[in-house]
Structures are given as C-alpha cells and as structure tokens.
Symmetry: C2
Subunit: 441 residues, 2 copies
C-alpha cells in the first residue's frame, strides 16, 4: 500500500551506524536565538512601557494587533466576562474543561510545600517558612495557538499555591477573542485579563503600569518577542523556562499497535514544523510496521502538511540494540515527553534520570497528559529536563530561612563564625558574632 | 563624644515624611546593567570557548589572570590537592570549617525532596519522580573576595542532593591560590577544581571543553562578566539568580544593645561600597542611640572606609510609627537578610511574606547565618525574595511527572482529552486518545 503514496521523509537511524552520534546531535540541535534586531525592538518596547505605561501599552497593542483601543479600559476583561464565557460554552466542552481543571487541581494540591522547623538541644530553632507569591502573570498566546489547556496548566498551580492575584495577558490579533480561553481563565482562578500581548505585555507585567499591576513572576509560552522580553526582565521578576519546540521520545518494546504509536508521533508533530517526534525500539520489524502505519495514516490527518514537514525536518525512527541502549538514549536526549510504550515500564523507570514527563505503558497516550490526566503539560524542552522540572505549585511558592538562636546557641556558633570571619578578613562580621558570646567567667 | 569625630553620613528617614516613599525608592533602586561593551566581550569569549575549547580557555586565563599556563593541566587541581589544603590548615580554622560544613550539611539534609505517587480508583498511577542533576558547576570568585564559606554554601546542597559530579572553577589572579577555599572544596564534596574564572569559565562549564565537563547548572557569585555570561548561557544550562549587592534590614523594638545593632549593620556594610544596611524602629530614642554607637564604633573598624562609603551611599535609619508599619516596610523591601531584633519575633513572623532569611531575636546576629548556623547564605537580593528562595537542595534536584493510565483510566480520560483537543483543532491528539477508548458494546 505504501508504494502508491508519496513516502514520508523520516530519518532512520541505528545506534550501530558509524555516524549515529553526529546524526542524532544534528537532529536534536536547537538554538532559539534572538537576533540583534529583535533584541533592539524588544528593548525599545520595554523602555516605552516603563516610561509611558498605559499609553505605550495601548499604542503597541493597536499597532501590533491591529486594534483601535483608546484606553486600557478597552483592553481589560473582568471576572464577570470570564464567567459569561464559561456559562456560554457548549455543554460537552464546559464539562470536559471542568473535569480537566478538577483533575489538574487535585494533582497539584499534592505539590504544596509546607513550612518546617526543628529545635536543637540548646534551644536554637532552624527551618524554612514557605509562602506564596503575591502576584503571578500568565502569558497566553493569541490567535490560532490560543489553547485553553495552557491557561489551566499555567494558572491552576499559581492558584493552588495561594497566589493572591493572578493576572492573565492574551493578545487579540484583529480583536478576535477566544471564548474557550476566557472560560478556562474563569475555571483556573484568574483575577484579571488584559487583552495585550508581545513584549509590551511582558514589560507591563514586569514593571506595572497605571492599569496593569506589577507581578512577581511571569509564566507561559510565547513567540520570539515574548521569549526575548522574558529573558530581558528576568531578575526584575521571576520567569519560567524559555521553551523550545515541543518534543516526544517514544520507546516501544514492539508490543504496542503500530497505528497507536504512529498517531502518538503525529500528535507531537502536528504542533508545528519544528516539533520533534522520535521513536526508539530494539525491534526492527516493529519499526518497519510503525513506518508503514505512518504512511497509511498520514493522508487521513487534518494537519497533514504540518506533520509531514515536522517529521521530515526533525523526526526519526531509531533502532537500538537493546533496552540498555534505549535507556542511554533517553538520558542523553532528556526528552520533554517520554512514552514508555511497553509491558513493564516500571522496570525501566528507576533508570530514567532525565525527562519532563513519563507516560507509562501502552494506554498512556501523551495527549492524555496534555489535557486532563492531572500533571502539568508545561515541561522542560530541548534537553533542559537535565536540570529543570515541570511547572508546578513550587514555582509559585518561595522560602525564607528561619534562624532563631538561643543565647547558648549564639555563644557556640559565635566562636565558629568568629574564626571563619577572621579567616575571610571580615572583622565586623566576627565582632558582631562575638558580642553574643558572654565573657568567660 | 560624637562631636569630636566626623559625623557619619547616614540617611535618616521617617515614614511620616512627605517624601518618604520617593526617598526609600531611591535608596532601594539597584539595576545591575551590563552595558553593550561588556555584553559584546562576553559574547566573544563564549564563542571562542565553544569553538576552540581548552585552547581558548587557557589563552583567556593567561590574559585576564596574568598567568603563563601552557595547557589545562596547569589549571587543574585534583582531589589530593584539595585534601592537602585541608590537612595543612591551622587547627582552629580546620575545626571551625569542619563544624560549619557539618551544620550546613545537617540542615540541608532536611530539604531533600522524595519521589511521590498515588493510585486512583481505576488503577491509574500519578506522581513525580525526583532525581538529582548529573553535574553541577560552582563558580567561586578569586582574589580578595574568595570566601571559603561560599564554597560550602554552594557545593554542599549539590552534594546533599546527590549530584554525581561537582566541578568548581575559581580564578587565580597572578597565580594566587586561596588554601581555605581549596580546603572548603574538599569538605564540601567538590570533585574537580579548575583554576579559571570570568566569562571563559562560565562558557566552559556551560558547553564543555576537552578538559572541563559540561555541567547542567551553574551557581555562585561573580563580577559583571560572570553575571553577563551566566545570563547568556541560561537555557543551555540552569543558573541560580544573578545576585545584586548584599543587604540587611534590621527591625528593632528598642531593647537590643545599640552597639550590637551597630555592629550588625557594619557587618553588612563591610562587604562592599554598594552593600545596604537599613535599621527600622518605632523607638526614636533608640535610633539615636544606635546612631551614636555607629559614630563611636566606626573608627575601630578594620574596614572603616568601605563601611563609611556604604552607609553614606545606601544606608539609612528609618523611624516608623509602629509594628504594623514595620511589617509593611519588610514586605515592601523584601530584604535579603531580615533581623527581627526584638523580644517576641515569633509574633511578627507570620506576617513576614518576603525575606531571604529571617534572623530572630537579639542573639541571632546575621553573621552566624553567613557561616555556620546551617541555612544557606546564598539568598535572593534586590527585592527578589518576592519570588525566589535561598539556594537549597531543591536547586540541584528536578522532577519528572509520572503518568501510568490503566485501560479503564485511559478510556475515561480519553473522552475528556478528545473533546478538548478537538476544541483546539488538534485532531491527531484527539485520535491518539480515542485509540485507547474501547469500542462501545
């Protein structure tokens, strides 16, 4: 059957190939660089919003999103408008969104950290006080890539953490509002929505304007202007990771229906042309079967062109020798999404050191995690799972160290601190500690 | 007595003053901006190290630190050299360093996160697998600001987290090694030391060279070149916050010895001319007493010139009306170090929302926390305690979401995911979920 179709251009790699390492590195390479021109425009936009506040924000929104707002009042949606969007949804969508929100909330409740402390023998108390951020800003892309699921995934952890005020920004190119996005904001506990986007929205959240309150952290995906602006305001506010294209690594033992796996790969590839879908197996015949399924199913896809382009650019079927090689590939790639499509995924789990989210067994399609399983779909991309975590409640909490020395504790610690401070030639440190040591009898 | 000395230039503010808000904002203002020239040099250095590896690293080190190394072997110290530095320390310093390391380790052990999961009624398992980073890079400044306590504070959390390999870089301007720093590295569990610094060291850690292994996260303080380089490699590797000058806010109820408080303020101010020492009290006579103590003690300080400059530039005595105003100031300033020098600091604690570390009671000098109390001395500066935390074990651990759907769970979640995916026009997502729903009987 595949002969009569245009064959998919999909790289086939084998760990036994002499050029395997180089080819894999080339496939994985991704660097989202802002060029100097983008950087300069973003710097100008940030400076304008810092200097002229609302006026600059309205001007930039009118210009970039082709609007004709006269003031921020035209670009502000209150809670009633969000609730209305939710109430007006078709029943099936309303229920699905509510079920997803409920599961996401329940999962994230388990991530909350609590304050802790302990008392030492001499009465000294040490610990950490955990508290929520005062205000969080959620950036939601506008237009075609406006996803209500992203609103849930970004705002619910903030809400669960106890953030006092959640501010959402979403551009409305040509004035088009996405009712599903507003409904999701209602469910997720968003307090205000401003229909602004781009670097100007990031600047407004980071520095505040007359209308937009200054937030403490900005999360959410965006285009290159948004990413560049987030990097620029990092330090003034907290930010989440700057996301690269989405990726999946499926590891199959050969026992999963090839059509299921083909569709799992498509579900990643359909995001955009830079998305990456990789399949690893030690079963060569199975890889061929999946490839045939891919060719068979491709023409049935609504987003066939995007999927073809994405598979051709960045997809691959990778044959490895055995499970051990598959584990080594997982940890080398550190994928955003890892599907362990096998009979006994638990056996492999302890060896997986780096992955954003791990979808275990034949039934756990990655798409379930995107929407409603409960865990967050904001995950570290481009190998950053080596050092970062899914978005979570912990991103909206922070800690203050607690130190309460008893007089005895201060005397004992004072001796140590004094010695070390004098070793660093910081004598005021030493003397401040020594004041708390009672004179020897 | 104070009349015969040159009076200290120290701002006196009162919350009742008409210009209080503006003056406080001006005092707090800090923006560590890298100018375009620094940015360009850093970009060039990073590009050179990425392209030419060790050769570029050796060249840059020879040039900036005035060395004459011929290869990286000249700039590498192994575990034996670190152990030797520790063994050769004077007894008092060795003991103090070991006691500090032991307390820091014991405190940080309590920060370790564990993996967790739960099973739903239909057999679906959800959770998070917590794992350590593979490799961490610790940047330690060289020359006069080389602090062994910083080595302990940066490396021990990584070691406690279970990081497999800890790489330290420390420049040695003019070839000068700091034996205390090497001894601290030995105690903290550092695996290798490279005597390189600046942007070149950050580039080597972020991208790896023939000799320097690529790490997953870089932590530790540095000058403007180091800070600019860390910002540039953020995303390629994780980084900690980019630190501003150190600061303390002391809140006193009037009952603490004014000389103790004066010395606490000095211990902050002696760091450098940009350090900030603020004292808040609702007791006007007490503020005057502390000011007199400052004038009395200033001439006795080894680092008098730095302290005078720092107090004049950024220090202040602030009179407020009452405790409530003091709390509002704390949360507005979000200080790196907060000293609650009062009889009942516990009463205030629940109202403190933003502070890096809280030193409670009259006996807890901030200097005790700098060296040996146990909590980390790497703390969020410049108001970033609004959204960030002390360095901790959690900075060297990361999480992978776990989702293992039972067939029943996949069927139920598939319905929800399918509805939402179709709402987002992502039909391959929908079909991937739908494959896992058994046909209705």
């Amino acid at each position: 059957m595949s002969e009569i179709l245009e064959a998919v251009e999909l790289a086939r790699l084998s760990t036994g190939d002499a050029d395997f390492d180089a080819r894999l590195d080339a496939l994985l390479a991704w660097e989202g660089v802002s060029d100097a021109a983008v950087q300069q425009r973003v710097d100008e936009i940030i400076a304008a919003v810092r200097t002229r506040g609302d006026a600059a924000l309205v001007e930039a929104s009118n210009r970039f999103d082709r609007l004709s707002a006269t003031s921020m009042a035209d670009l502000t949606l209150g809670p009633a408008r969000l609730e209305q969007a939710y109430a007006n949804l078709p029943e099936a969508q309303r229920q699905a969104l509510a079920q997803a929100a409920e599961r996401i909330r329940a999962y994230h409740e388990r991530q909350k950290s609590a304050s802790w402390s302990f008392t030492e023998a001499d009465g000294t108390v040490l610990g950490q006080q955990v508290s929520a951020l005062d205000r969080a800003g959620i950036y939601v892309p506008g237009g075609k890539a406006a996803y209500p699921s992203s609103v849930l995934m970004n705002a619910i952890p903030a809400h669960v953490a106890g953030v006092r005020e959640i501010v959402m920004v979403v551009p409305t190119p040509d004035g088009v509002l996405n009712e599903l996005v507003l409904a999701a904001a209602h469910l997720a506990g968003v307090d205000h929505v401003f229909t602004v986007g781009g670097a100007q929205a990031v600047a407004a959240l980071a520095y505040g304007t007359e209308s937009v309150p200054r937030v403490d952290k900005i999360v959410g995906p965006g285009n290159i202007y948004v990413a560049t602006a987030k990097r620029a305001v990092f330090g003034q506010v907290g930010i989440d990771m700057i996301a690269g294209p989405s990726e999946i690594l499926v590891v199959s033992d050969g026992g999963t229906d090839p059509e299921w796996l083909a569709m799992d790969l498509f579900s990643q590839a359909e995001h955009d042309e830079d998305a990456q879908a990789l399949l690893v197996s030690w079963d060569a015949a199975h890889l061929e079967a999946v490839e045939a399924a891919i060719e068979r199913l491709l023409p049935t896809l609504e987003r066939e062109a995007i999927v073809r382009e994405s598979l051709a650019r960045r997809g691959a079927l990778i044959h490895c020798r055995d499970r051990e090689e598959a584990v080594a590939l997982i940890n080398r790639i550190a994928p955003e999404h890892l599907e362990l499509s096998m009979g006994d995924p638990e056996a492999l789990l302890p060896e997986v050191r780096h992955a954003g989210a791990i979808f275990m067994g034949r039934y756990t399609a990655e798409a379930l995690g995107d929407y409603c399983a409960g865990p967050n779909h904001v995950l570290p991309t481009s190998g950053t799972a080596r050092f970062s975590s899914p978005l979570g409640v912990y991103d909206f909490q922070k800690r203050s160290s607690i130190i309460h020395c008893s007089p005895e504790g201060a005397a004992a610690l004072g001796e140590v601190a004094s010695t070390l401070a004098r070793g660093e030639a910081l004598t005021a440190h030493a003397r401040s500690a020594e004041y708390r040591i009672p004179p020897k009898a």
